[in-house]
């Protein structure tokens, strides 16, 4: 099968790699060392602000600005990142203004190697870094006060935006800024103990809620620049295709159409509003070369995936004797699971605004990967990266779609060709049919049991396209994409012989990271399969898991509590419970689903989740993230599938790619386990377990084992 992958994107990332911002090992080792130095683009505006580092600025009037360096797409970083700084800076969040960070090396996510919001890493990566940034500024202010009063700094403390001396003398931060700016930043700072926290772990209103409910929050799609035109872009019906012949006469004749420009990805029609631009676009006569992707068909993709699964893959984990003794086991259990391609379908469709000012290109939009955008756009319009500036708005959903650089490059190319500021807006159909899809996957599972029914061998072989091989090729070495083994390599069960094997198979469909990445794929296979083992060995699914988790206190705690809360063993007549548990991004969780059957198929009544994510920074939003993840996993796993016919995506809008609605939403009961451990991830953790828990409940209730998603399609 031929590649559909956009060579443009790969080139951008490779060139970015050459420039060194994305160290090939950075994504894996977290080895990048981050200082607090100001990025160049902040330094100018900080000239008047005397106390400043990359995350906080305080001016002589006492105005405090905290820089949010992660993209706000609903997960709450616009509040949780400032909470970490403010805790150590000793200021209430209500006294703080928030600015979105530009693209700069100081904002690189050390867990991912780029300035990326993803992988449920925001709090984990920022946990020490941002508290130290706040403590650093606080220490400067305390030292300035001590200097002013000619007293030892140890006699002074910071509180509520002021420094206080033990005698009762007090100076507000603003009054200390002039002196503090002449002092050297401390090399080492002391962080507060958990018992002294006033903000972390305490109820805290989200800082973006008011703007969002007053209709004032600016999303990418709301951006307006002087003289700006709106662009609608006709792209090839098959991803990767090119326009070979364009007749734009009829488009130009549409009243209100201002311009038509061609870029590599297609033909853009510009007008003062999207309706007119789209009308003009519909009048374009384009002959497309659809490229190699025109041969893509879903049935063929599935059978090729199966053919590829025969190949030996990369061994991602091997414990004990591996699968050497599998065939000698007293009992052998085998099963296969399949998951489909999925679209991200953020409610805010892909869009971006580009404007040229004095030879600089300013990109404003819903962006998850600021450096990718900067370097990608630079290469896409032949400007040096230092002439490209990234301004991140609120994101109307991200889920990984807005990590991709296609739309930012397109906006810049259209604006350049048109000689005007341009806001490119994709239609829902554009967004659905030109996504970077969650990979299709085939999971072949096997387990060996001894004569007492104990699991002695566990084998998971996944065959799937690799997102990383497309987006960050240097990270994939010897056929190993570390992100493909999420949810299988980190198996929590204590089984003596384990093999996790991954076969990378490029189906020709371009694939992208999708909320929880491979966790949702592997967890569906692993946790469904554990129930199949339980069934084969006539054990209770919770009891079997408990047995296999021996010694893993955190996993056992959440599983036990989830079973209790859901009433395990006490399902009402006509209903059944199903369970699943895992470790995902440093967080342990267990989910129980309560299901009944209707004529239309399974109905999910309640999802019970228990989560141990270590220290909870923002309790209410931690709850919101788990609920959100569960409902996204549910929405997609029940109904959604992306299919291809002659290279064209067959789904186009919410009529044939339906979204969860209020009437279908089950009760969700979430409990967090108290823990003093370092924070684990939260933004994606809710997604993976809901579908295996539901499939397990369905199997218990009906005897029908669903091994292929979307689940409802098995009952059609």
């Amino acid at each position: 099968m031929k590649k559909l992958n956009s060579p443009v994107l790969n080139e951008k990332l490779e060139s970015s790699n050459r420039r060194g911002f994305l160290k090939s090992t950075g994504a894996l080792s977290g080895a990048l060392v981050i200082g607090f130095h100001l990025p160049a683009s902040n330094a100018q505006s900080a000239a008047a602000a005397q106390v400043a580092n990359a995350f906080v600025k305080i001016d002589t009037k006492g105005h405090i600005t905290i820089i949010c360096h992660r993209s706000e797409m609903g997960q709450g970083v616009y509040t949780s990142m400032p909470m970490l700084v403010a805790e150590e800076l000793e200021v209430p969040l209500s006294a703080v203004k928030i600015e979105m960070a530009p693209s700069a090396p100081v904002y690189i996510n050390a867990m991912l190697g780029g300035q990326i919001t993803g992988g449920s890493t925001s709090v984990r990566d920022a946990w020490t870094k941002l508290r130290e940034a706040g403590a650093s500024a606080r220490t400067l202010l305390v030292n300035a006060a001590a200097d002013t009063w000619k007293v030892p700094a140890s006699e002074c403390s910071a509180s509520n935006g002021s420094v206080v001396h033990k005698s009762g003398k007090k100076l507000a931060y603003g009054a200390l800024v002039a002196k503090a700016s002449t002092l050297k930043a401390p090399e080492k700072v002391t962080l507060k103990g958990a018992k002294d926290w006033k903000i972390i772990g305490k109820p805290q209103a989200r800082l973006d809620t008011a703007a969002k409910v007053y209709g004032k929050a600016q999303y990418g799609i709301d951006v307006k620049k002087p003289g700006m035109l709106i662009a609608s872009l006709a792209q090839a019906p098959v991803i990767g295709g090119r326009a070979v012949k364009v007749n734009d006469a009829k488009a130009r004749a549409v009243k209100g159409v201002v311009n038509v420009v061609q870029i590599g990805d297609g033909v853009a029609v510009l007008a003062k509003d999207l309706y007119t631009a789209k009308k003009g676009r519909d009048a374009l006569e384009i002959e497309w070369d659809n490229g190699a992707g025109v041969n893509l068909n879903s049935l063929e993709i599935e059978s090729e995936l199966r053919t590829a699964s025969v190949n030996p893959g990369a061994i991602m984990r091997k414990d004990g004797t591996g699968i050497a003794n599998l065939d000698k086991a007293a009992k052998k259990v085998e099963a296969e699971y399949e998951l489909p391609f999925l679209a991200h379908a953020t409610l805010e469709p892909v869009n971006c605004t580009a404007e040229f000012i004095n030879g600089e290109c300013h990109i404003t939009g819903p962006i998850q990967f600021q450096q990718g955008a900067q370097y990608g756009v630079a290469a896409g319009i032949s400007l040096p990266p230092e002439k490209v500036f990234i301004h991140t708005t609120f994101l109307g959903g991200g889920y990984g779609r807005k990590l991709e650089l296609d739309f930012q490059i397109q906006a810049a190319q259209i604006a350049k060709a048109a000689g005007k500021p341009v806001k490119l807006i994709w239609s829902r159909e554009d967004d659905m049919t030109h996504d970077f899809y969650r990979p299709v996957s085939l999971h072949q599972m096997a387990a060996g049991l001894d004569d007492k029914g104990a699991v002695t061998t566990f084998y998971s072989k996944m065959t799937s396209p690799s997102v990383t091989a497309r987006a960050f090729p240097p990270v994939v070495q010897n056929g190993k994409d570390p992100f493909m083994a999420e949810g299988s390599e980190n198996l929590t069960y204590k089984i003596p012989n384990v093999v996790v094997e991954n076969v990378i198979h490029d189906t020709g469909v371009r694939v992208g990271y999708w909320r929880s990445v491979s966790n949702a794929l592997n967890a569906f296979a692993v946790e469904s399969f554990v129930d199949e083992i339980a069934s084969a060995s006539k054990k209770d699914p919770v009891a079997l898991r408990m047995e296999m988790l021996k010694g893993d206190t955190r996993s056992i705690n959440v599983l036990k509590l989830a079973a209790e809360k859901a009433g395990w063993g006490k399902a009402a007549a006509g209903r059944a419970l199903g369970v699943a548990q895992m470790e995902c991004y440093g967080t342990h969780s267990a989910v129980v689903a309560e299901v009944s059957m209707t004529k239309a198929g399974p109905k999910v009544h309640k999802i019970t989740a228990v989560v141990d994510c270590g220290t909870v920074v923002h309790p209410d939003q931690a709850h919101a993230q788990i609920e959100s993840g569960i409902l996204l996993g549910f929405s997609s796993g029940m109904k959604n599938v992306i299919t291809f016919k002659d290279g064209r995506v067959e789904q186009s809008n919410f009529d044939n790619y339906p979204m969860l609605r209020m009437s279908e939403t089950p009760v969700v009961d979430i409990t967090f386990v108290q823990s003093a451990a370092s924070p684990g991830g939260l933004g994606e953790v809710g997604v993976p377990l809901v579908m295996p828990a539901i499939a397990n409940a369905v199997a218990t209730l009906t005897g029908k084992r669903v091994r292929k998603l979307p689940l409802m399609a098995q009952f059609a």
């Binding site: 797409m73 309706y275 409610l347």
Partner: protein, 155 residues
């Protein structure tokens, strides 16, 4: 030239009368609180009121608004608007927030008619509004809270 009334103020639009209200508001009148989600009246993010009745502005031509009052979140009657916004803040409803103005416009029409809706009535009024973040439970709580505030204000 179409003469329109947006949030109590006169406005005019001299483009194609078939242009959906959504794009007249967003691209010509700079009212960006109604959002674009699907363009087919499937998601409700674009919901505005025409003479107090919720409509999907992505699929309603501007010509249909002539002689009627277009209302967006900014122009809701003070009592209902404030009750909803306060309730949405108290329940911390929004995550990404993109759908929420549309959700609130559907909710406003509901609690204006029926400040004490049953759960089934809430679901019935809100089922056309998609929230991809899954804030439905908080939306339900916020509607109950806002309805109570409106009832109290009436009493």
């Amino acid at each position: 030239m179409l003469k329109l009334n947006v949030n109590g103020k006169a406005a005019s639009f001299d483009g194609d009368p078939e242009t959906p209200i959504l794009w007249v508001l967003r691209d010509h009148l700079d009212v960006t609180s109604p959002k674009f989600g699907c363009g087919m009246a499937l998601c409700g993010a674009c919901t505005v009121h025409l003479d107090g009745v919720p409509v999907r502005s992505c699929s309603t031509p501007a010509s249909a608004a002539v002689g009627k009052k277009i209302t967006t979140i900014e122009g809701l009657p003070a009592k209902v608007g404030k009750a909803l916004q306060d309730a949405w803040i108290a329940e911390e409803v929004p995550q990404c927030g993109y759908c929420q103005t549309g959700q609130m416009m559907s909710a406003a029409a509901l609690i204006t008619k029926n400040p004490n809706p049953t759960e089934a009535e809430i679901v019935g009024a809100m089922d056309g509004n998609v929230c991809r973040c899954g804030t439905y439970h908080r939306i339900q709580k916020a509607i109950v809270r806002a309805g109570k505030a409106v009832s109290r204000a009436k009493a």
